[in-house]
């Protein structure tokens, strides 16, 4: 099986590579259109700023390439956000694969409550409402690891939800495209399960 990890200016792909290696899978990290197109699965990771990431993707014609992919694609963290319509981060028009917008967490709406919600949303939180083969063998309310200040809104395409200030899309699915807001590669055994489920998708 050929796995391509999309190489662009956002973040650290080393952890994703290591996670795949632990599953005995070799992957290529590449920004080359040919290589991405011929891969069986594509992983679109990312940690960084939506605006500068989209600029880079457009400049290198990776935006249209990603939208055109027919094999299973998994966006992780910023990868998921870039697959949405629009992001409040830098008022950025994104790839528009998922019909949702990405907003910044706003804890001011909870000012009068006792709980003090920190931003970024950092740490282990539960995923629920799991509805996709991506979560085969994963229990409702399993803990996964998040680090983010922006979130994709809830939509009919949501396949997992997490509550933080508001309920948001922890994972989204449309056709061959999947996105997870949490870091599968840092989410202990649950993360490994989700990655291996993705690798089994047809």
């Amino acid at each position: 099986m050929k796995i391509a990890i999309v190489k662009y200016n956002a973040g650290n792909v080393q952890s994703v590579l290591y996670a795949l290696q632990r599953l005995g899978i070799d992957a290529v990290v590449t920004g080359d259109a040919e290589e991405i197109l011929k891969a069986d699965k594509v992983i679109f990771p990312g940690v960084g700023h939506a605006g500068s990431a989209m600029e880079y993707l457009q400049k290198h014609h990776l935006d249209k390439l990603i939208i055109s992919l027919k094999q299973p694609v998994l966006g992780i963290c910023l990868g998921l956000q870039l697959m949405c319509n629009w992001s409040e981060e830098g008022n950025t028009k994104c790839l528009g694969i998922f019909n949702v917008n990405v907003k910044k967490f706003d804890n001011s709406i909870l000012k009068n409550k006792r709980a003090h919600f920190k931003i970024p949303h950092m740490g282990w939180n539960n995923i629920y409402g799991l509805k996709s083969p991506l979560f085969g063998g994963v229990k409702e309310n399993s803990f996964v690891y998040f680090v983010h200040s922006y979130y994709a809104e809830q939509s009919p395409e949501t396949i997992a939800t997490t509550d933080y200030i508001v309920p948001f899309s922890a994972a989204i699915h449309r056709d061959n495209f999947y996105g997870v807001q949490f870091h599968t590669e840092k989410s202990a055994d649950t993360g490994i399960q989700i990655i291996s489920n993705f690798l089994k998708l047809a």
Binding site: Y18, V47, H116, K118, H121, W124, F143, K186
Partner: protein, 252 residues
């Protein structure tokens, strides 16, 4: 619900862990990779590696260590100890570290926080503060491993650092560190209330109730300890069950 995090801290000198006894199931407790894997299996939520090596070889051994740890564990980890530039941080992040902890270098050059946040995002930037309560009742920032006093209070520095882009504060109370009398609740609580980013409390853990107290009384987002874990005075699965029974939300 977001879980409170339990974080063992591993002090590293010349690529070896400094404190610790031999655990069952670990060949070599001095090997940071083995120890990291052990804590990961036990249910630690994150790890912090603090490099205290003073030699010029430091950087190379630390990068090698980060590579090995990242290849083996699947929970997040932070690396700190003498990181003074964006280049230093970049090398560690590229090799698999999730976050970089900066301390004295950031105080001496506050622009470093913004530079790192702009380059890698705030979520990668942990500001470590060593603080000590003086006779005047104020908590002052100390540098260079607690050897140099400054005139800045921990709260002012934390606020300034968060405004510059720090994504998390690791607060160590020098008054509490090593005492095993519990974490510094008041200063942790004060800073936690005043800043918008998560706060990790450090220094003073002696028993399981101390962890419950720092989460429930001081609203810490995470608690860090070294000795009690390394000497197996507290085992992480037992601690987490204890916290869960006390209605602290933890990842079991």
């Amino acid at each position: 619900m977001l879980a409170k995090r339990i974080i063992p801290c591993l002090d590293i000198n010349n690529g070896r862990t400094v404190k610790g006894v031999n655990f069952v199931n670990i060949r070599d407790a001095g090997d940071p990779v083995e120890l990291a894997m052990y804590y990961s299996r036990e249910g630690a939520d994150e790890l912090v590696f603090l490099d205290i090596t003073a030699t010029v070889e430091k950087r190379k051994t630390l990068v090698e260590l980060v590579k090995k740890v990242a290849a083996q564990i699947n929970i997040p980890f932070t690396v700190g100890g003498g990181i003074a530039s964006v280049e230093n941080a970049f090398e560690l992040l590229q090799n698999g570290a999730d976050k970089i902890s900066i301390n004295s270098a950031a105080f001496k050059n506050p622009a470093l926080i913004k530079e790192m946040a702009d380059e890698f995002g705030s979520q990668c930037v942990v500001l470590a503060i060593d603080t000590k309560k003086e006779a005047d009742g104020k908590w002052y920032v100390y540098l260079n491993g607690g050897r140099v006093k400054t005139e800045m209070t921990a709260l002012d520095w934390a606020k300034q650092a968060v405004a510059s882009g720090a994504g998390e504060i690791l607060l160590t109370s020098m008054n509490n560190d090593g005492t095993k009398d519990g974490f510094a609740e008041k200063i942790t609580s004060l800073i936690s209330k005043e800043i918008s980013v998560p706060i990790i409390a450090s220094g003073g853990a002696g028993n399981m109730q101390h962890f419950a107290d720092i989460f429930q009384n001081a609203n810490a987002d995470a608690a860090l300890a070294a000795t009690v874990f390394h000497y197996k005075e507290i085992e992480i699965p037992v601690l987490k069950q204890f916290l869960s029974d006390k209605k602290v939300n933890v990842r079991l």
